[in-house]
Structure formats: structure tokens, C-alpha cells
């Protein structure tokens, strides 16, 4: 049981990272690729937050004086993840607007059919 406790969050986080990367590598539909990117970002965020977790800690918020003495989890990764989430939504919004434009130009979202540029 201890083993499970120690690894389950990491497994979840990197499971998402790898599923996201796999979607991005294998799928050719642009929207699907962007969905993969969103899953990948969620996985990275989950990993960062689980790095900051401290066993039996509580949230680093001191609004409630009753839980004054307990250990607190590390606030830094949480701050980083807030930043990462916002950056993620920025990238996704831009990617989707590009996808809409791409569809207007080509009438398809299949990346393997879009070959204006050549190597």
C-alpha cells in the first residue's frame, strides 16, 4: 500500500504526459493534436503539484487559525502551476484560432493532406 501511495500521483501525471505526447505524435487531425497538447499540459501541471506535496501537510493558507501548527505543503510549485495553466490556455487559444484559419484555407484539418510547404 505504501508503494502505491508513493507512486500513484507520479504514475497519473506521467501517464497523462505520455498519452498526450502519443496523441500528438500519432494523430493527424489538428484538433486531436491540440487535445493531446492540452492533456500533456495537464500532466505536467499534475507532476509539478505532486512534487510540492508534503505528507500530511495542509494547504499553505493561514485563514483558519485552528490548523495553525500542522505542516504546510510547498507553495512554490503551486505558484508555478498557476503560471503554467495560464500559459497553457494562451497557447491553446492561439492554436485553435490557427486551426480555424487553416480549415478556411484547406477545407480539412488532416495534417498529412496539408503540404503547401516542402522540405
Amino acid at each position: 500500500m505504501n508503494w502505491l501511495q508513493d507512486t500513484v500521483y507520479y504514475i497519473g501525471a506521467f501517464g497523462l504526459v505520455f498519452i498526450g505526447l502519443f496523441v500528438m505524435l500519432v494523430k493527424r487531425n489538428l484538433i486531436k493534436v491540440i487535445i493531446g497538447l492540452s492533456i500533456l499540459e495537464t500532466g505536467v501541471n499534475l507532476f509539478l503539484v505532486s512534487v510540492g506535496y508534503i505528507s500530511r501537510g495542509t494547504a499553505p493558507i493561514f485563514s483558519n487559525p485552528l490548523v495553525e501548527t500542522r505542516t504546510r505543503v510547498d507553495p512554490v510549485p503551486q505558484a508555478l502551476v498557476l503560471t503554467a495553466i495560464v500559459i497553457g490556455v494562451a497557447v491553446l487559444a492561439l492554436a485553435l484560432s490557427l486551426a480555424i484559419r487553416l480549415y478556411q484555407h484547406y477545407g480539412t484539418l488532416d495534417l498529412s493532406k496539408i503540404r503547401e510547404q516542402k522540405w
Binding site: 500500500m1 497519473g12 501517464g15 497523462l16 492540452s38 503539484v49 505532486s50 505543503v73 495553466i85 490556455v89
Partner: protein, 79 residues
């Protein structure tokens, strides 16, 4: 407790795999939204309420809305 967490994580991975296999992009987006929602619960369980709020409001709600708008503008099915 740990079993509940494990269940959540399995559900989340299953949702991510569903997003991988669905041919209907709308369903795939909803599956990705599920991933974000469960991740938000996990953030809360990891004692990060700020992040949980951000993930629920931005990651699950707004991103899904943007995806749906984009799908309505393009096409709904893969291939």
C-alpha cells in the same frame, strides 16, 4: 483514501485514453474536459486549492468552451 485517489487516477487515465480513441472530436473534447476536472480534484487532494480553482475554471471550463467553438467552426469527425 489512497484507494479513492487511485480510482480517480485510473478514471483520469481512462478519460485520456478515450480522448485518444474517439473519432468524434466533440466526445474527445468532453473526455479531455473530464481529464481536467479529475486533475482539479487531485490538485485539491494535494492541498493546492488555488490550483484546483484555476484548473477547474480555466482548464476545464474555458478551454472546453474554446474547443467547442473551434469544432463548430471546422469539422466534427476525424478522417
Amino acid at each position: 483514501m489512497i484507494l479513492v485517489v487511485t480510482l480517480f487516477i485510473l478514471l483520469m487515465l481512462a478519460a485520456a485514453l478515450a480522448a485518444l480513441v474517439f473519432k468524434d472530436l466533440m466526445s474527445a473534447v468532453i473526455a479531455a474536459c473530464m481529464v481536467s476536472l479529475i486533475a482539479s480534484i487531485l490538485f485539491y487532494l494535494l492541498q493546492a486549492p488555488d490550483v484546483a480553482m484555476a484548473e477547474a475554471s480555466i482548464g476545464a471550463a474555458l478551454v472546453t468552451a474554446i474547443f467547442i467553438v473551434a469544432i463548430r467552426r471546422t469539422e466534427r469527425y476525424e478522417e
